[in-house]
Symmetry: D2
Subunit: 390 residues, 4 copies
């Protein structure tokens, strides 16, 4: 007997599309889990976008008011893919209405809002889930398993990064992403992924000190009706970028490992380089999203040092959830497949009542590290990460 | 105004699933093309498989008789993903019924059957299409464009291969793939992809001489009700493998390039290494499906020889059709995305009446090379590839 | 007319051998420079080592007293490859005697001693030179030229590291390298190379904050007559490691680039990973000593974004000084070839009177960064690097 | 007690320099073997070249007549690095005079001459040795050991190649290398290395069929006094290239492995890509001279298929003879180090009387494969390799 879960998606941009598409595929890709999504409603303030998404993905209806979605009794679970500034209000209402939530990151506009969201969820029965999609690469999950099984010994070093050039054009417009009123810049948008990955693999971070830089100090003002991706001429009127392009940090993990975290949105040479390199006393692991289907593994081989080296494992049926996409050979997955896994994990948690990971608690853990890094910008000294409140 | 095309899929194994899934996604992924698939019927001799596929993908009905699919007036296009031995009869009937055909490779059980299928299609109005999916990787299409634009000059060398270990376990059962009565082995299953890729990139092949080997001469007899992927014990009763595990060939292209083609199904060390390396007078290109989102490009730089080298291009929005999957950064596609492109190209050709590529004519071109290679096994001498009949 | 320079080498361990071997090859490898070395005397406190080196490399004589070398009028230039603690005294005497000096790094036992050595040299006429050999890889010199020529625009990011596992065995003995009385640990031994490389490529460092860790807190006490490379049993008597295994730092360059520096001597997975990744507004460069003959280069290609990517340049005759080793194709150099280049540059500076780089001034620049990092360990805050005194 | 061997070198071009330099380093690099070279005489028809080499490497005397070298009683061993056409006469005289011979490849101007050289040596007591230097890379020797130890099981596939662009400029002059009177082209110059490597790793070749092509059919005539590396204008007078630029071959090994061999001297994209990929029933190995310090190793891991993949081993102290260059970490060797190993092996064989490998017998084995390939060009059919005559 299969279980069908009614879905609403709020915010029909690129991520809203990705969530909608993913839900449609869960019943196929994760057939054995017995869960299907029913696409009930999609919402966007732009009526054309809402209706286009309805037609494209087969939602039963479209709306311009997210309250409609939250209020709909046929909807059990919602995806929040609206602009960050709107998240907390939707979360609040959704929890109130008892809807399960899959929220894109960052959960709140600010780390403080994320902590508030986690607090709201803590007292409720709703399943919360966060769009840290990169964790779901089968070889990343395998990396986590290897570490948990002691394959690389006690962790000593961790280097995490998310180097991306999406904003490297100095004539890309001054969208909300570049203004401090709308939240942090790279600390929020990119470093959050790197912090979550570090938590997944190496556990809690104890102490941090951070650096930041804004390499492109001004950008052309956006035109009415434009999109995030617009560019303007170098002589068009410009405004100040008021949050950071770059964040670097030294980190110390509770478990004793030492490391660095870095992220940038204006770098040249890296395209989507969310990556980690983690070393332990008996081995090491390395991965980058730019080769998301490959895990590099190093194992000490004291018995035969001539045969020691970095091994490249291709994502294949022996790695977690790969088989749901390709049961046969090592044929790689794509980015969107990670979003399908995410949707499947969310719906499975709803159906089974099992603990969902990554939940708002995991987002709160990221937020506390972000707060400590931001504090170190002001103090110019090491800062301790606040403890979890549970 | 969108155009909806009724679809039937015949043969609901792994490939039948892949085709069904792909059709569902065309209207979303290739939204601007204005074509949608309506999944009308799926067929499989095994009723349980047929019904499972119906439920999983949302076909309107399931059947155990492929003639039902061919006869259905609400079906405009069919996918043939049944066992190879059944292809020609279905093709014949489908052409007779005026159905457009997307056929998995090999089109016929033998090269001769493939030539017959092309002949049947030649006199009809149906759109034919073949599942040479690897060509659709955005960076492979880009490679073709670079060659066509003269970016690497006049072609001189081509090395193509498809090295795969799917049958490397000597205790994998003696399925139909390993018997000469059911057709060639690796020449049919794997080298066909390598030949098609060579045709795409380097044009027609003029002369060949081939080698072959069966490394695993016997395999356990399959048990009733088993699958292709079963294994047995080394002491179970065995039968002879009667077709080739390995094919190697020297090739000369009509355009003057010299090269090699190789394929194997029992190799260790290669997982899904469909690959090419092509050199011209001013540059070179290299690709392997094991890193399907990367094209390696070499350009002579006589003006600055210190700055010459192999460049790795990550599949991104600037490469053909990548944008349909990821409009933003260089986030890679997966294998199944190639099948979605294939389905979209097929449906677009039906909707627009444009010439479809790769059609049965392209499969016939592959078949003629296969025949020449097989002839050289007997003659132990160079053989000329037969000319196309149009 | 060729110029012959009399040479003395002090300290005949691995590095003393390397220097001696290199001097012998200068007249051959750098024939056109017209300089030859005459190996006059080698010194080591261990008479057997001194005599073995004499026989092996063809020194005219061997001695156990370095003062003999400094006093010898037929010696114009000396290499100091003795233990670090002995360097400053030898330097002082050598400068007094007017001998040119090629000193292995670190120049002084401590950064303060290095600054003192630079001060002594500043008032003299001697040519000083330092064994930062990694800079001499032809593709590293090419990287420097590319940056100087603006090929990657204005620098924005720099990640430097020297990750090495030479001390990763917890039962490797507690040699002088592991005791604070003999100087810093990894900050001195490994990070010095990474700092010098950063200076070469990205210019002066303005501000730093550092981290450190000792992962292996105790080691077996060495046995009399043993070597640095001895190991003992886990139950043998142990002593405390009193300097750092690991150093990490955030750095800000005077030119505005932001970055990280890291080094470790006990890491698993990296063997001799002295490496840099440097990004600018229009490109990026990356290199690691583990592939010392390859420079990775990224150039923005806004005109053809489909053809942008990382290019791998193989060290070849078009790169600086490669031709002295291989005039023909791109056949790689080895580590020891870098020491030959170093010796050639040193002797050429003596012969021509041109300014030598890297000199004690460059070592002093490294020492000032080391001092600032060490200060930040105590203050737990950002520290400014002291200005050069000239 | 050390043994000193008197050396003569005949032909002072690039290779004569390389041999001279290598002999000088044997006593240092392979100290423990107790053998030293004494550079007695060098010969070149060009007196200036002979004298320059004498001065550069410290030969006791220079001569323009190779007979002087062969006749010199203080010379025990000679290197033949003269033009190929002169080899056989020198070999004949040297064997007559009882001199041990290290001959650059090809040993004879033609395969037939090489077979004759082997025949001459067979009846004598002289040690013969051939300059197949690529075998000496420590990781290549390790590859051979792994195969011999069964690490990759029974060999099934071998792909060997030597792709090089040294002659890719169509305006490079028509030197002796391009004329059939002086011998084969790429079959002699480059494929010989690939055949020797195949023999080393995979044993004797039983059957072959080859292809060939001359991509650049004419070249400018050389000017008097010019060198091999001269280029001319496209409108200068040209002559025909009368031997092959490219050779391809299918090969069957006596042991059952199937494979391909390819070589080209005018390819774009490959610089010095002497390479092999060899697969067996339980693993695979791959190497290219372009990364000569890295061996790629694949081992089946049926017990943990998630942890199977290609491993990259960096040349290090655990690999054969690496320690003679770098006793410590994995710091790579350069091309010239391979020539030092070669010289050391040659001198050691002389000193110890042990069997030398690769000797003229190994060159003869290469020559027989070359003859079979050339025969197949004429017959257009498979040819059997002639058996060894011993």
């Amino acid at each position: 007997m299969r279980r069908t879960i009614g879905i609403g998606v709020i915010g029909m941009g690129w991520m809203g599309d990705a969530h909608s598409r993913s839900y449609r595929l869960v019943g196929d890709r994760f057939r054995a889990r017995g869960v299907d999504a029913r696409l009930v409603a999609c919402a966007d303030v732009d009526v054309a976008r809402a209706e286009a998404a309805r037609d494209r993905f087969g939602f039963e209806r479209a709306t311009t008011d997210w309250h409609d979605v939250v209020a709909d009794p046929s909807i059990e679970a919602i995806s929040i893919t609206a602009p960050n500034a709107a998240h907390l209000a939707i979360i609040d209402a959704a929890i109130e209405a008892g809807k399960h939530i899959l929220c894109e990151k960052p959960v709140g506009r600010t780390p403080a809002e994320t902590l508030r969201a986690a607090e709201l969820a803590r007292g409720s029965q709703v399943v919360t889930f966060v769009g840290y999609n990169y964790r779901w690469a089968p070889v990343v999950q395998h990396a986590r398993d290897l570490i948990a099984d002691g394959a690389i010994g006690e962790l000593t070093h961790y280097r995490g990064r998310f180097l991306n050039g999406y904003a490297k054009d100095p004539n890309g417009v001054l969208s909300w992403r570049f203004t401090a009123e709308q939240g942090y810049g790279t600390l929020s948008d990119l470093l959050s992924h790197a912090i979550d990955m570090a938590h997944l693999l190496a556990g809690p971070i104890a102490d941090v000190i951070g650096n930041r830089q804004t390499f492109i100090p001004s950008r052309p003002l956006p035109r009415a009706g434009g999109t995030h991706y617009d560019t303007a001429g170098p002589d068009d009127p410009r405004g100040d970028v008021t949050n950071e392009d770059y964040v670097g940090a030294l980190v110390q993990f509770e478990g004793g490992a030492q490391g660095t975290l870095e992220a940038c949105r204006v770098i040249t040479g890296s395209q989507c380089d969310l990556a980690f390199e983690v070393h332990g006393t008996t081995g090491a692991l390395a991965w980058t999203f730019e080769r998301m289907n490959e895990l590099r593994v190093y194992r000490r081989n004291d018995a035969a040092p001539a045969d020691e080296g970095w091994m490249t494992e291709l994502s294949g049926p022996a790695h977690p959830r790969h088989r749901n996409f390709n049961p046969g050979w090592a044929t790689g997955l794509g980015f969107d497949d990670l979003k399908v896994i995410e949707a499947a994990e969310f719906l499975t948690a709803i159906a089974t009542g099992a603990r969902a990971v990554p939940s708002f608690e995991d987002a709160a853990a990221v937020a506390r590290v972000q707060q400590a890094i931001a504090a170190s910008w002001a103090s110019r000294s090491w800062e301790r990460v606040a403890p979890a409140q549970r």
